[in-house]
Subunit: 365 residues, 2 copies
């Protein structure tokens, strides 16, 4: 096995497939990256929950395959000069990596026994622009539950229906939903583990190029930029989230997103030592007064808002509000309150390309 490729592309491939390699595994081969050369070169990392394959343009002199320890292979290639890398497997899996004046010879492992990626039978398929999916994941991933006792909520629901692609996360205190239009007339539901979505989010780029998503019973395949990512699905029934989102509101306001964030951040400084104390919003006369109070002291701040409906006083865990507000790029947003003890809904001024829901905290006073 012998090939030449660019250092830059090889390192991009390594750092991508490394996201699917276990840093500590019981078998050395599971801490490895599989490298195969035929027409091109492809690298594979696989930790069973998540598998990633990345193709690299290369000038292949002789075909073959090898497994190299992921950490050492990655460290070496990262530190090479920006030039052509010469790669050759010699006797006893000894692997030569040469670039510029640098020469490395490291011990590899037989590729036999490496867990190759499963084939996905093409059942259901949908395409969406990378930048759009990346944005939707960013907008919803924060609301994924960390409670391993409700495993299904440690993932996000992807729901494809009626020409809409929707992602939903929820954890019992808040819900985040983002949606986009698609061309395909296909229907499916799948729950992708949160940590895999996080890796997929990092791999996707800010570009219009599409990512193709193929679904089988237990797995989803994401294809983009010469990269194939296979994620297992979480099994079980996701919560019927539509049931939780209120549609009738007592009070609705339009507010500057940045000003709202700043005022809650400041108020939460007072309560940060003690989560018993919520941040309180008092809305009336086109004003919102944000207050907080704890043993250390009090804070108070007034914001201008546009208001419809009744006066309202409502308390929130500031972290839950901030998690939602901070993923919003819109300058102004619409915040709707069902009642002083019911959920509040945050949406764009127009449309519903995202919907965030946050439960309030009951206040003593």
């Amino acid at each position: 096995m012998k090939f030449v490729c660019s250092k830059h592309e090889l390192y991009e491939a390594i750092s991508t497939v490394q996201k699917a390699v276990m840093p500590k595994a019981t078998l050395p081969i599971l801490e490895g990256i599989y490298i195969e050369a035929d027409e091109n070169v492809r690298l594979v990392g696989n930790c069973f929950d998540l598998g990633i394959e990345f193709s690299v343009k290369a000038d292949v002199m002789s075909a073959g395959s090898i497994v190299l320890n992921s950490r050492i292979f990655g460290d070496i290639v990262r530190k090479l000069p920006e030039s052509e890398v010469f790669f050759e497997v010699k006797k006893n899996y000894n692997t030569v990596i040469e670039c510029g004046n640098s020469y490395f010879e490291i011990k590899g492992m037989s590729a036999e026994g490496f867990p190759m990626l499963p084939e996905i039978e093409e059942e259901k398929k949908v395409s969406i622009a990378q930048m759009s999916l990346k944005e939707m994941i960013k907008k919803t991933i924060y609301a994924i539950s960390t409670d391993e006792n409700r495993k299904i909520l440690t993932g996000s629901l992807i729901e494809v229906q009626d020409g809409e692609f929707t992602i939903v996360s929820l954890d019992g205190f808040r819900l985040a939903l983002a949606k986009a239009l698609i061309k395909e007339a296909v229907e499916f539901n799948a729950v992708i583990p949160g940590k895999n979505l996080n890796e997929i989010h990092k791999i996707m780029e800010q570009k219009e190029d599409e990512v193709k998503i193929t679904l089988s019973e237990n797995q989803a395949l994401f294809e983009m930029n010469g990269c194939r990512i296979i994620s297992k699905l979480l099994s079980g029934e996701f919560m019927n989230y539509k049931y939780f989102i209120p549609e009738q509101f007592e009070t609705e306001i339009t507010v500057d997103t940045r000003e709202f964030i700043n005022s809650i951040e400041r108020a939460s400084l007072i309560t940060s030592d003690d989560r018993r104390f919520p941040v309180k919003l008092m809305i009336s006369d086109d004003k919102m007064i944000v207050t907080s109070s704890a043993e250390i002291g009090i804070s108070k701040e007034e914001l201008k808002v546009e208001m419809d409906g009744l006066d309202i006083t409502i308390g929130f865990n500031p972290r839950y509000l901030l998690d939602s507000l901070k993923v919003i790029d819109d300058e102004m947003i619409r915040v709707s309150f069902s009642s002083s003890v019911g959920p509040c809904v945050i949406k764009p001024i127009e449309g519903d390309r995202f919907i965030f829901m946050v439960l309030p905290v009951r206040m003593n006073s």
Copy 2:
């Protein structure tokens, strides 16, 4: 007590004096910042080993003093809008901080019992440009020992003599020395604790303005930018470092600093799992071959050098070489080897504004 000042300047003062405030102390007052208003406003943080005082321009309406919890005071001011801050102490040490639309009222503490900075009797005094001292600390701080059993080596020696200002750190494996010229005809020695030098390094700016250093028996005072920093000194005799630096060399080379760093970094990837294996330098024929070898594999790289003296083969712990090389900005450096088992000395091509010394590792082969 009542004053108005700029948020920006107040936050600069807080973040500076915070470096001398204990994050966790037995007494709440020791987690506090002392604030005093008379003509101006001054803030003080003091953890006994290190004390910092910072003056802020302010419009003082009424004089007084208060102690506020450092974390909460800092967090609040950091988050205020960039505007004028109104500060007022009311009944029962309740302190109002107002800025833009934000209003905070937090519980303060009586300033009685706060450990004020000691007066330094002016014994010996020296001045040096901030950027020059900052650079000298950067060049030497990495070689400070972390071994608490040899307390004196957990600090850096400042030696002022014959119009030279010298800083020296050493830890038994390497030594770092940096020097600059001064105008004063004064002589002293003082050992400043490493962690205080680190804070002083952060506070100093990249500018020509001088820092004044005043020495008493147990303390050193650093004055710059409206800031007074008092550090305790380490007591005891520092090692006679001059004795360790060789002056006779078998081999000397001139090498490109960046290329030397890169080649050692690459070689150290092979040995990183096991410090038993040194990086080996083989110097002959105006070439330096950098090699390493461990269970995982081997590396080899050739560098062009300008060479005087005998051929030599010598091994180093790569971390010790890298720590020294990485604080050097000079494009080319002079590396001198006393023998294959004696210390190596790294210096600029001309002069001796810094001298680094590293002990080699004995090699089996």
